[in-house]
């Protein structure tokens, strides 16, 4: 029985981090669908979300809700800036060139964050205390409930946005075929800008809810970005359901691996999973097979 409780405990904490991976993965997918590129700065959005929240909530003592909204908005604007100032004006619009620009942007943001917030890890108090709630013998932190709740709300809101609203439909049209969308009179460039805005916001939300659990430092972005990307690959790149499933799965596998095998090699495990999936099922577990160019 204690063994079972332990497994349940690991699964719960895996689902907690997995939820944030899912949000990061959705961010990757939205930009990929709009532009066909992998945004390597996605992890930096997460880091920035945590950093802004610490600044607005921890230091400036703004009310939590205000700090939350402000942080999300700030990172969303940074996402927008990335698109408007670095990607759009680039002389070469080749995919690989744009991907490498986001790599440059990611290093740049990292360096800038180091200058602003310093090198040491920063902490943020959990949203509502640290008294664990017991469920079936396993302890669950109130912050985990916040994470589940907010992730669920964000995913539901996004789904509604993509299915119900005109703008959401337009974004899906751009993803399906940029040319046809342009011919149908959809302002493609504005949709691309919006995808960066949304991805910035998603990354920020992930960073804000995750920081009380893990702490955050200027160089945390790359690892979080890689986790989100792995989750996206795991679930099938470009699909929202895939991103959520992949994120949760990765979080649980990682947590079980850390708990049952070795916590030092937790991150190794995540990337081994990524490599194995790339090798055997490049389209992702829920994907349609390898994406190949002909």
């Amino acid at each position: 029985m204690p063994q079972l409780v332990k497994l349940f405990q690991f699964t719960l904490s895996g689902l907690t981090t997995g939820s944030t991976y899912a949000l990061i993965a959705i961010g990757f997918s939205i930009i990929h669908n709009a532009t066909g590129i992998v945004n390597f700065a996605q992890g930096e959005f997460v880091m920035l979300g945590g950093m802004f929240m610490i600044t607005f909530y921890g230091y400036l003592k703004l009310p939590m809700a205000a700090a939350f909204v402000l942080s999300v908005f700030a990172v969303a604007i940074i996402g927008l800036l990335l698109e408007k100032t670095a990607l759009r004006p680039s002389r070469s619009q080749e995919v690989l060139n744009l991907v490498m620009i986001t790599v440059g942007a990611s290093i740049f943001i990292k360096g800038l964050s180091m200058a602003v917030w310093g090198k040491s890890a920063m902490t943020l108090a959990p949203f509502s205390g640290e008294d664990p709630i017991l469920i079936l013998g396993a302890a669950i932190m109130p912050q985990s409930i916040w994470i589940f709740g907010i992730t669920l709300a964000v995913v539901a809101a996004l789904s509604a946005f993509f299915v119900k609203t005109r703008t959401g439909k337009a974004m899906r049209a751009v993803a399906a075929s940029r040319r046809s969308a342009m011919l149908a009179g959809i302002p493609v460039n504005r949709m691309i800008a919006l995808s960066f805005f949304l991805s910035g916001a998603l990354g920020a939300v992930a960073g804000i809810i995750l920081t009380p659990v893990t702490t955050i430092s200027y160089d945390a972005g790359i690892m979080l970005g890689l986790k989100g990307f792995s989750a996206a690959i795991l679930g099938g790149y470009g699909s929202m359901i895939g991103a959520v499933a992949g994120g949760l799965l990765l979080g649980v596998l990682e947590s079980l691996g850390a708990g049952l095998v070795s916590s030092e090699y937790k991150d190794v495990l995540a990337f081994l999973i990524l490599l194995i999936v790339l090798f055997f099922k490049p389209g992702g577990i829920f994907g349609k097979g390898a994406s190949r160019r002909v």
Binding site: L226, F271, P282
Partner: protein, 312 residues
Amino acid sequence: MKHLPLPVFSLFVIALPLILSNNYYLMALNIAALNVVIVIGLNLLMGYAGQISLGHAAFFGLGAYLSAILTTTCGFPVWPTIPAAMAITAVVAYLIGIPTLKLEGHYLVMATLGFNVIVYIVMIQLSAVTGGPSGFAGIPRLQIGGFAFDSDLKIYYLFWAVAILVLILSLNLIHSRAGRAMAALSHNEIAARCTGIDTETYKVKIFVISAALASLAGSLYAHYISFISPGSFSIFFSLQAVTMVLVGGMGSVWGSLFGAILLSLLPEVLHSVKEYNVLVYGFILMAVLMFFPRGLFPAGRSFCIAMIRKKT
């Protein structure tokens, strides 16, 4: 005319220490020579196979740690260990390359990045073998018979001889049948396949060769500094290598030489910037990609040619 740059550059390399008095600059140039080896190898992959690796620091690190462990811990002789480390690294690259090189560009980027992270974590965690975060010390220095490469000057000539050799081999390669096949597949993969080129095998081979070159640089680095730690082999160094290729220009071997030297010496010149190393690299990478997508070296060369034509 066509063969002029090589002897001119070689003479310059030979003569340079005569002007330089400061050992500090020699050391920077020695590291630059190793970067030249890595960057030329990486450019063969990026410029000719159209694939980007963000894991070359891992191959560099594999070479360094394999050399360190095999010579110091296992007591193997230094010189045979270097090709052995290259061979092991090549096998690892082969195993990664086979599945990922079949996929689209950014999958290799991610797979190699993930691989780099794995190698880095193993270097830190496997402290019984690697010395962990505090590093691996006491690696034997290079020597031939009774002659020890015990000064920066001696190392300078050794490393630059290796760098120029790699340069020559690469220049030979790109003007050979295999080089043309590589150029063909990077420009138009479908046409290359229909012309009889086994593009998948070629990509894997270039990836393996480029990883082996990084391993060579890693071994030389370990035996030169005699102390290595995981910090030198993080993904940040992979990004630096890619930046050097892009600044020099993809597909230009001379450009790689230029890019590697420029960006290896830049931090030495801009001492005050050192704290913001990361920031500056990120900025350079973005700016070059945005405004000179073909690289600084080719852009500069076209500019010079245009200026000369204007004058005459």
